[in-house]
């Protein structure tokens, strides 16, 4: 990962910028959202592979900074929502796309279904993903 960063920075102009945009693990909340409001049904469980990926990403950027390749200019957190019409569609997506990284515990799934069936007809399921965006200047050193 550190080598890849070095290669990316090689192709950047001296006054170029690097934008690192990625999700960060935080046991993302599962919510039922409708015109009546939002109710949280529980949280996903971060699995070790996802936590290891996060640590590797932070390590790579710390290394790049410590080697004076980049200088941090700006950083913010924001939210990114995934929406599904039904709890089963959410479960199916997670089993395929997030397998090994995020786990939807059975009690959270059951609570989600329960909240969803008793919510307004326009209710949808969503997962609130914590995102981090960081702007780095390429160092002239």
């Amino acid at each position: 990962m550190v080598h890849a960063l070095e290669e990316i920075l090689r192709t950047l102009k001296p006054d170029g910028i690097l934008i690192d945009l990625r999700p960060v693990e935080s046991n993302w909340p599962v919510e039922v959202s409708s015109s009546a409001g939002v109710q949280e049904s529980g949280r996903l469980t971060d699995l070790p592979a996802a936590l290891a990926d996060d640590e590797a990403a932070f390590y790579a950027m710390r290394e790049a900074e410590s080697r004076s390749w980049v200088v941090k200019k700006k950083e913010e957190e924001f939210v990114f929502y995934y929406y599904w019409d039904t709890p089963s569609e959410m479960k199916e997506f997670m089993e395929v796309e997030w397998d090994g990284f995020e786990k939807l515990e059975e009690d959270v799934y059951q609570k989600t279904k329960s909240l969803w069936v008793s919510a307004n007809a326009d209710a949808r399921i969503r997962v609130r993903v914590k995102m981090l965006i960081t702007k780095w200047d390429k160092s002239r050193v």
Binding site: K13, P14, D15, I17, L18, I19, A60, K74, V79, E89
Partner: protein, 98 residues
């Protein structure tokens, strides 16, 4: 399937708050199917997206609007070797890829 990603557009808003893409040469690492690419490429003078997933790159190429042909390119590759000379790009984006 009913999946929707970021229908509020928070990601696009913050991306444009962090960088001005107008007339710039952009390198995107982890472009996937181009979901993020299409949120800024129209402003750039050149965008090159890299992704190791061949199927994703195929989708990105197929979705490329004709107005952007010649300005947006997708390459199936990782970031360990980028076949461009040094100091080519103004902005590099690590798109959910670090």
């Amino acid at each position: 399937m009913s999946l929707q990603r970021d229908p509020e557009g928070f990601e696009k808003k913050i991306l444009h708050k962090f960088a001005d893409f107008a007339g710039k040469r952009i390198l995107e690492i982890g472009c996937g199917e181009g979901r993020l690419t299409w949120k800024y490429a129209n402003a750039s003078s050149l965008t090159v997206g890299f992704d190791p997933d061949q199927d994703a790159v195929r989708v990105a190429r197929a979705d490329s609007p004709s107005a952007l042909h010649g300005r947006v390119h997708f390459v199936q590759a990782g970031a360990s070797h980028i076949p461009f000379s040094k100091e080519t790009f103004d902005i590099a984006i690590l798109a959910w890829s670090l």
